[in-house]
Every structure is written in structure tokens, then in C-alpha cells.
């Protein structure tokens, strides 16, 4: 595993390997089993401070979605945005890499690492999306 590849999303929480595959990191509470994304330091369920940082599963199901037509200048519209429930369970927001008419609530999706613009020096960055496919 390496984290040398520049990433756009909270570098600590998005891990990208040299082969271009990657995963999100979350937190797991060893006392009560709660899962969190993004990572955090205190369990909100039992207030334990010894949370483990874990790799989150890369496959899940789409809880809900929208097609965004008006956004900030940082994003090209339209894009599909959705909440994905990953085993844990834990819910993660991400863009959905699919045509709007292919998207349905409950569909299986998997994490993918995608180009995500550049940083201030022009270095290409990586981010994450979810694409249809896979089984949770």
C-alpha cells in the first residue's frame, strides 16, 4: 500500500495504491461496533476514544440519489450524487458514475478511483466515485 499518489479528498481518508486501486478509510468502535465515515476520534455511541481506523468495503448499495443541475463553479453539471450504504453499516456520499436514467435506489455500486482536477501547482489529483456493479 502506498499513499504517495496525490488525492483530492481528505488525504488521510482516501487511500490509492500504485496500481490505481483504492479504498476509503473509516473508523470502527471496538466497544460498540459503530462504524463512521469520515474517520473520527471519539465514538458518538459509547464515547470510547480508542477507535480503530479501518479500510471500508468498496461495494455497497445506493440509498438515494439526485441529479445536480446547479452547483458551485468547482463542479461541471449535471452530475449524479448519491448516498451509498456500505457494510458496517456506514453511509458515504459520492458522485455516481452513470447516466441518470441508469440509476435506481437499491442498485449495487462499487468504489472507483477517478481523476479529480489538479492542485494549485497543477499536479493531477485523484478522487473517488461509485460506479454501477458489484455485489455488496
Amino acid at each position: 500500500m502506498t499513499t504517495q499518489t496525490p488525492v483530492s479528498f481528505r488525504p488521510h481518508d482516501l487511500v490509492v495504491a500504485d496500481d490505481g486501486t483504492g479504498y476509503l478509510r473509516g473508523s470502527r468502535c471496538p466497544s460498540c461496533g459503530a462504524h463512521y465515515f469520515p474517520t473520527r476520534e471519539v465514538c458518538a455511541g459509547c464515547l470510547t476514544e480508542d477507535l480503530e481506523t479501518i479500510p471500508l468495503p468498496t461495494r455497497g448499495t445506493l440509498y438515494t440519489y439526485t441529479v445536480v443541475h446547479r452547483s458551485t463553479p468547482a463542479f461541471e453539471v449535471p452530475y449524479v450524487l448519491g448516498y451509498v450504504d456500505l457494510p458496517g453499516p456506514v453511509r458515504v456520499l459520492g458522485q455516481i458514475d452513470a447516466e441518470p436514467d441508469q440509476v435506481t435506489i437499491g442498485m449495487d455500486v462499487q468504489l472507483e478511483i477517478v481523476p479529480w482536477g489538479t492542485d494549485a501547482e497543477g499536479t493531477p489529483l485523484l478522487g473517488y466515485r461509485f460506479a454501477p456493479g458489484g455485489h455488496a
Binding site: 459503530a34 463512521y36 440509498y63 445536480v68 443541475h69 446547479r70 452530475y79 450524487l81 453499516p89 459520492g94
Partner: protein, 381 residues
């Protein structure tokens, strides 16, 4: 424990005021409340100022303009609940005996402040992947459609109802009736929402003066004083597992605090002003408040039950969708509307025989938390 009353209300025109400032709008609303209460302003002992995107110490600027500088004032930021949180500050000062008259106001000047859609905040990890506030509510609407067979037309009817009410409110941002087709054909924002499913960015201010029951008996006009029976505030919980996005536990819990304090239940409520920042939001608020069962409010709107003249009118002022949404002014303006209705001073939008009203605000978003701040206030005649 003393009772707390609203003795004066003031509000500016909501809409676009490109040539004005938050402090100037705030001062106009505060002067309005002082004149409405017919009191010597020197009776005011403490003040709270809600604002979100305004310069620091905007509250002190307002006090300076109205000649009241000197009294204790705190500026309050709780996103869209800022104004309602300011009212809670005044409410608690009176309960604590620190003040017998206290001023709360909210003011916001937003024209020219934003480019593009309103987002949760630059450092929000969800904004980093493309979340906007309309998108977050649109996703809740989409899920509600799936779970409860909500139709696009039913959502549109909420905007039609609130803009119809706004057309009866001289201080509202929107002044025209619209049709369901207008809503369906509006420019898309975040599906299923178009522009008319979203509250506008507005400028405006609103103010209330609160007083203790003793003060009202000795110096006030008990016939115009409206009791503030509860002013509840909660912060959303961090979710330890993915929660429902179609039912608001935060709204329910905050309402339960208010119902308990007021000794009043959902069945006693005659009308409501709720935080309809988007069409679906009115549904989620109303069902969270326990005024309708989960999944049943959209059909009730279709039957006219939430109209002025219906079983339980919702957002008679026009709500955020019709009256406009100058963030921190919103929560105060809701209480202004409750007072007008309960005094019988609401003119052509008067609800006959109303004696108990509820106001609900919810604001802000932070990742992993169901909602940042929520307020529920109950007023009785």
C-alpha cells in the same frame, strides 16, 4: 416560574435590498418592534442578535443605530436557526430573572453574497464531492418518493400553497400565485427539484420584544401580549449507523422538549410555521413535529388540510418558499407571524379562532450529524 410574553414585533420587507445593509435592516425591524410594543426603549435590559453571513458585531451596529448601545448583547450564529436561537436567549434571560424585557432579532443581507448553489460549508467533506443544500434535500425527496409513493405533483403543491399564502402577505418576497405546471416546468436545480421547490435567497430582518408576566401586568397591554410557552433548542446527534432520511428524529426530539415545557401536545396545535427551505422539507418538519403521521402529509396538502381555512394551516405567512429566507431573520419572522395570527392581526390570511401556534427552524449541516441546530417554539393566546 415566570411566564414569558411577546410584547412587540417588527419586520422589514423580505426580498432584494441591494442598497441596504444587515445593520440597517436590523435597526428598522427593532424600531418596528419598539413602536409595536409602545414601550420606552430604555426598558430593554438584554439583547440577542442572530446573523449568519454578516460582519462581526452586526448586533452592536444595530443597537448603535437605535440608540440602545450599552446593554448586554450577544451575537448568535446557528445557521438557519440563528434567529430562533436569539429568541431562546431572551426567553432564558427572562426565566432567570436577569431581564424583565429582552430584545431578540435576526438580520441578513445576502444579495450578491453567493455564486452558484448554497453549499454546506467549504470544509465539509460532502461539499468536497459535490453536495449542495438543494442536492441534500433532493436526495431526501427521492427517498421519500420511493418509500411513500410521493408524487412530483404532490411536492409541487406545497410550493403552490405557500406562494399563494405569500401573495396575501405584504412583507413577503414573492407576491404572485403560481400553478403546479409553473413548478414542474421551472429550471432544474437538483432532481426532482426545480427552482420553485427551493426557497429564494432574500434580504430582511425581524425582531421581537419579550417580557415577563409581571412586567406585562404592571406596564404592558395584556390584551396584545402573546405567551411564549416554550423555546426549545437541540443539536443533531452524530449517527452511529445510517439513519432514515425520511423522518427527522432531531425535529421530533426538539418538539418533544417544547411540548413538555409548554404542557401542550401535537393535538392542541392550531397552525404551524415550519422551515420549508425546500418543498420536501415542509413534509419532513410537519411529520417530525407529530402533526401528521409519517407518509401522510403530502396527501393532506392535496386535500387542502394545510391551507388557510384547512384543518391545520401550515406556513400561512408564505413560509420560506413564499415569504423568503433571509437566514437568521427567518426564525424571528416565524414568531412574528404566530403573534400576528394569535392577536387576530393577520389581515386577509387570518386563521379564524387560532389559539396555539408552533414554529420550527432547522439549520446547518455537518457530516455524520442528522442536522446541526433545531428550534421549536410554541406560542399561545
Amino acid at each position: 416560574m415566570t411566564d414569558v410574553y411577546v410584547i412587540g414585533i417588527g419586520m422589514t420587507q423580505f426580498g432584494k435590498h441591494p442598497d441596504r445593509t444587515a445593520a440597517g435592516l436590523g435597526a428598522e425591524a427593532v424600531r418596528g418592534a419598539i413602536h409595536d410594543a409602545e414601550i420606552d426603549p430604555r426598558a430593554i435590559r438584554t439583547a440577542y442578535a442572530g446573523h449568519v453571513f454578516q460582519p462581526m458585531v452586526t448586533g452592536q451596529q444595530v443597537l448603535g443605530q437605535v440608540g440602545l448601545a450599552g446593554i448586554p448583547l450577544a451575537n448568535v450564529e446557528n445557521a438557519c436557526s440563528s434567529g430562533a436561537t436569539a429568541i431562546r436567549g431572551s426567553f432564558l434571560d427572562i426565566l432567570a430573572g436577569e431581564a424583565d424585557v429582552s430584545l431578540a432579532f435576526g438580520t441578513e443581507h445576502l444579495t450578491g453574497a453567493f455564486k452558484g448553489a448554497f453549499t454546506p460549508g467549504e470544509d465539509d467533506p460532502e461539499a468536497a464531492v459535490g453536495a449542495t443544500m438543494p442536492a441534500v434535500y433532493a436526495m431526501r425527496a427521492r427517498r421519500y418518493m420511493e418509500e411513500f409513493d410521493l408524487t412530483r405533483e404532490q411536492l409541487a403543491r406545497i410550493s403552490v400553497k405557500n406562494k399563494r399564502n405569500a401573495a396575501l402577505n405584504p412583507l413577503a418576497h414573492f407576491k404572485k400565485d403560481i400553478t403546479i405546471d409553473d413548478v414542474l416546468m421551472a429550471k432544474p436545480i437538483a432532481e426532482p427539484f426545480g427552482l420553485l421547490d427551493c426557497s429564494p435567497v432574500s434580504d430582511g430582518a425581524a425582531a421581537v420584544l419579550l417580557a415577563s408576566g409581571d412586567w406585562v401586568q404592571r406596564h404592558g397591554d395584556p390584551s396584545r401580549a402573546i405567551r411564549l410557552a416554550a423555546s426549545a433548542l437541540r443539536t443533531g446527534k452524530v449517527e452511529t449507523a445510517p439513519g432514515s432520511m425520511t423522518f427527522e428524529e432531531l425535529t421530533r426530539d426538539t418538539a418533544d422538549d417544547a411540548y413538555e415545557r409548554a404542557g401542550i401536545g401535537p393535538a392542541d396545535i392550531d397552525f404551524a410555521e415550519v422551515h420549508d427551505c425546500f418543498t420536501i422539507a415542509e413534509v419532513l418538519r410537519i411529520e417530525g413535529l407529530g402533526l401528521w403521521e409519517q407518509g401522510t402529509y403530502p396527501a393532506a396538502v392535496e386535500r387542502g388540510e394545510a391551507d388557510i381555512g384547512g384543518r391545520l394551516p401550515v406556513n400561512p405567512s408564505g413560509g420560506l418558499l413564499g415569504k423568503g429566507h433571509p437566514l437568521a431573520a427567518t426564525g424571528v419572522a416565524q414568531v412574528v407571524e404566530l403573534v400576528k395570527q394569535l392577536r387576530g392581526e393577520a389581515g386577509s390570511r387570518q386563521i379564524e379562532g387560532a389559539s396555539v401556534g408552533i414554529a420550527h427552524c432547522r439549520g446547518g449541516k455537518t457530516v455524520g450529524v442528522e442536522g446541526a441546530a433545531c428550534t421549536v417554539q410554541i406560542l399561545t393566546r
